[in-house]
């Protein structure tokens, strides 16, 4: 992993040396402004996402019994894998100048609002949509693991909601929040498809979009390089800062079984219900918009469209290959992580700590090398090495997908592997179990839920990503998001809506149903295992 990073940096630096004027170009006033607005945008997005997400997690942790809570939370988790382009399309349908809300307002004889969906407000709104759900999902796990006794005690002391939040809930997430915030900041700082679609004008371009434009609009590779290196530098610094802050490395936490519902004043409960319903509506409306818009599409015509069928099969195959690669590499990294981090293995070796740090850094590599920088690296490599562009495209896409999912995959898998090491190392040593047979007998069933989760994550994120493909897509090599982007751009709104619906359906089906399909099997095997044991 680190090797990929070094290779990339080396390629970029080498290219920079041959384009000496690129840095001078990139440091003009236009560049400073890009940096300024990107920072403003990412800060706003992060603050709002964390605020909204915390509020929602807080409400959800108190309201533990309402109809559809399970589905609600499952949908929140899915926000991470929903294709950004599809949701952006749904948001425009709901909030556009002649969108649903405005039509409802006009119908109620209120004056409609001015269009705000393109520009800073649109970008921030879409970012909050995705990231607030992510924050809520992460913090909910923390809030739910607060011991019931603490809450009971707080109640009997007569603390009000704010005091309780300050004294109980906030400390429980203080280890999580900085890491989560920096992750969100980086994701928004390097945002691509949302800014590309909702940016409105070059004003709010992120560095990623500027890189894309420098390549695709100006064909100014020197400028693209300068931008890419600057972004690489900024993100690397932020990640190193983040790794110091992030005591709690878990990006996602497993749900717990805390079902204790605290009796609260009706007003507070009312507020909590309102938050849940309001956010639910905001979350669901774009999804419903995608579904209703998509229903009107002519699927028979779409099914006969050669390009659509090619994009669909390419996307499915790429997603499948990415999933396998992610599973493979995350298992290897997690094993290495467990070996370096546990006492009975190598934790006391003096090389372990630096190696562990390197491992942690490389698993968050994607945040430093977002898809366009990576794409540019591959693009320059392809130009100097030669060979089939389609093959390069496949290679670049797979690499980018794997790097994109790895931070989340490792975050889910590494703790489970450490747990397994702590629990079974003695037994395995005494039985003389090694490598493959040990993996087969112990880890493969122990970390199966995590693996299934990672697989669905990898599949969905790979299926929906519009990044590298924006550089490499051509008539011979198209994926669903790329086709969707093109259809959206050529006012085939009808076909775009159809494709969006299909992408949404595949994503939700894989992400929500797959774990259930396997979970029931897993429960059975686990039972069998316990019986044998």
């Amino acid at each position: 992993m680190a090797a990929v990073f070094l290779l990339l940096a080396a390629t970029l630096l080498y290219q920079l040396a041959t384009h000496p004027d690129s840095l001078a170009l990139s440091l003009g006033p236009r560049f400073t402004r890009t940096l300024y607005w990107t920072t403003v945008q990412a800060t706003l997005s992060t603050v709002l996402s964390v605020l909204v997400g915390t509020l929602l997690a807080w409400a959800l942790s108190y309201r533990t019994r309402f109809v559809g809570r399970g589905i609600y939370i499952a949908l929140l988790s899915s926000a991470m894998v929903l294709p950004t382009l599809v949701i952006a399309l749904g948001i425009v349908t709901v909030l556009g100048r002649s969108g649903w809300i405005n039509e409802a307002l006009q119908w109620l004889e209120f004056s409609p609002f001015d269009p705000f969906i393109f520009g800073l407000s649109g970008i921030v709104l879409a970012h909050v949509y995705f990231n607030a759900s992510y924050v809520a999902r992460t913090l909910l796990g923390r809030f739910e693991s607060i011991p019931v006794e603490q809450r009971k005690l707080a109640r009997s002391l007569g603390l009000n909601a704010w005091q309780r939040f300050k004294m109980i809930e906030l400390p429980s997430v203080s280890g999580t929040l900085p890491g989560v915030s920096i992750t969100i900041f980086l994701l928004c700082f390097t945002s691509f498809s949302i800014v590309l679609m909702l940016g409105g004008s070059p004003k709010y371009n992120t560095l990623e979009v500027s890189i894309y434009e420098a390549i695709k609009l100006d064909f100014d590779l020197g400028r693209a390089l300068g931008l890419a290196l600057t972004q690489l530098g900024i993100c690397a610094v932020l990640i190193i800062l983040a790794s110091r802050l992030r005591k709690d490395n878990r990006l996602i936490s497993a749900p717990s079984a805390n079902q204790y519902q605290i009796k609260d004043s009706t007003m507070l409960a009312g507020i909590q219900h309102m938050i849940i319903v309001l956010f639910g509506l905001i979350f669901l409306l774009p999804l419903i918009a995608v579904i209703t818009d998509g229903m009107n599409a002519n699927f028979i015509k779409l099914a006969g469209d050669k390009n659509f069928l090619r994009a669909l099969s390419t996307s499915l195959i790429i997603a499948l290959l990415s999933t396998l690669l992610v599973l493979f590499s995350s298992v290897l990294i997690a094993i290495a992580y467990a070996t370096l981090a546990t006492q009975q293995r190598l934790a006391n070796n003096r090389f372990s700590q630096p190696l562990l740090k390197l491992l942690r850094f490389s698993s968050t590599l994607y945040l430093a090398v977002p898809s366009l920088v990576l794409g540019l690296g591959f693009f320059l490599l392809a130009r100097s090495v030669g060979g089939s562009q389609t093959l390069w495209a496949v290679f670049a896409l797979l690499t980018s997908n794997v790097l994109m999912v790895l931070p989340f995959a490792i975050a889910a898998l590494a703790p489970a592997m450490v747990k397994s090491a702590n629990r079974y190392d003695k037994l395995a040593f005494s039985l003389g179990l090694k490598r493959w047979s040990r993996w087969r007998l112990i880890e493969s069933s122990l970390v199966k839920p995590e693996l299934i989760y990672i697989a669905s994550l990898a599949f969905c994120m790979s299926l929906g990503d519009l990044g590298v493909i924006a550089l490499f897509g051509n008539q011979d090599f198209i994926t669903l998001p790329w086709l969707l982007f093109q259809k959206m751009g050529s006012y085939r709104t009808d076909e775009a809506a159809g494709i969006a619906l299909i992408m949404l359906a595949i994503t939700l089906a894989v992400f929500l149903l797959l774990p259930h399909l396997f979970a029931s099997k897993k429960a059975q095997t686990e039972k069998g295992y316990h019986a044998e044991a």
Binding site: I215, L217, V394, L441, G489, S490
Partner: protein, 347 residues
């Protein structure tokens, strides 16, 4: 338990085999079809669309050439040029179609294009005689803002009037870096206002809903009512009138005059079908193609055909003042003007 894991392992193995096989299948280019010769033309999406000029031209040319004509659509006109540059030696393009005189010099400087040697005496362009032997014109029109008469009762009659409109009056325009209409508007304002051009942009900025990559996305947003006016052509209302029998659309006549766009095509130097490409270039000026263009690309033909232009075009507003900056002059300033434009919109 042992059995389950074992079957899982085999299943996994099979999945890997399947995936590898499928992976190889997509890596094989899909264009390896058997045809004598394939003429590949890169153009912007609206030209290549089912309802655009490409299908008719393709059919007509294939009847005579014993070849397979393939139009490859890019999301914008300048995008087609960038695509050839990006692909470098590996490009499949024989011809790039849909650039205009404003970007032609930039294209010429890439050194990617060769001479077309077409017979151009039939051209009847408003600019008179054509002398460029690399870029061949095939149609023209004037840039204009198009509006829906039902939504806009009194359209602005000049840039001054547009600037004076309230800020909730919204326009959608194209990016001058990717789209020839976008570049056209930039030059239009530049030619009409010179040193004060950026002041015009400053007051236009709050009225711009969004800047799109190509003409199609902008026009699509306009038709979805996301804007009151869209940057298009004086000839666009003819589409709604003739093809849809819808008379609600019109172009706003501006006192400053309207900027002229002459669309051109050029042969890519790395083409393996140079002769065929030259035949095609000549074919673009034939009556067959020139009669297809008005009612598919919705602009004026570059020659006067026996059939003449369609009736509906005669109703259109024909600008009294036509503006055009010399291509060489444009190229000298293009990057600087675009940088200023990006800066101005970015403030």
């Amino acid at each position: 338990m042992f059995n389950t894991t074992l079957t899982n392992a085999t299943r996994f193995g099979r999945a890997v085999n399947l995936a590898t096989a499928l992976g190889l299948a997509i890596a094989v280019p899909a264009t390896a079809m058997a045809a004598d010769k394939t003429l590949t033309i890169y153009t912007y999406d609206a030209f290549a669309a089912d309802w655009g000029p490409a299908p008719g031209i393709e059919k007509a040319f294939e009847e005579t050439c014993e070849c397979d004509v393939q139009f490859i659509a890019t999301d914008s006109s300048i995008g087609a040029l960038r695509k050839v540059q990006l692909e470098g030696d590996q490009t499949k393009a024989d011809i790039v179609l849909g650039l205009d005189t404003n970007i032609a010099e930039a294209a010429r400087e890439t050194g990617l294009f060769i001479e077309h040697n077409a017979e151009v005496s039939s051209l009847t362009l408003p600019t008179g005689e054509w002398t460029d032997n690399t870029f061949l014109p095939f149609d023209y029109s004037y840039f204009a803002f198009v509006y829906n008469k039902d939504n806009v009762a009194e359209p602005p009659a000049s840039f001054e009037a547009l600037m004076a409109m309230p800020d909730d009056f919204k326009i959608v325009i194209q990016d001058p870096r990717s789209s020839t209409p976008g570049l056209g508007l930039l030059l239009w304002v530049q030619e009409a206002y010179g040193d004060k051009a950026m002041d015009v942009w400053k007051s236009l900025a709050p009225k711009i809903v969004t800047v799109t990559k190509g003409w199609s996305d902008a026009y699509g947003l306009f038709l979805k009512d996301e804007a009151d006016m869209v940057l298009s052509y004086t000839t666009s209302p003819a589409y709604h009138d003739i093809a849809e029998d819808d008379q609600r659309f019109a172009s706003a006549a501006f006192d400053e005059g309207h900027y002229l766009q002459i669309e051109v095509a050029a042969i890519v130097g790395s083409s393996k079908n140079k002769e065929l490409s030259q035949e095609f270039m000549q074919f673009m000026l034939s009556d067959t193609v020139q009669d297809i263009i008005p009612t598919t690309n919705w602009v004026y033909p570059a020659t006067t055909t026996a059939n003449g232009i369609p009736e509906g075009f005669k109703k259109l507003h024909l600008p009294e003042t036509s503006l055009l900056i010399d291509g060489v002059e444009v190229e000298k300033n293009r990057t600087a003007w675009i940088d200023q434009w990006v800066e101005t919109l970015g403030q």
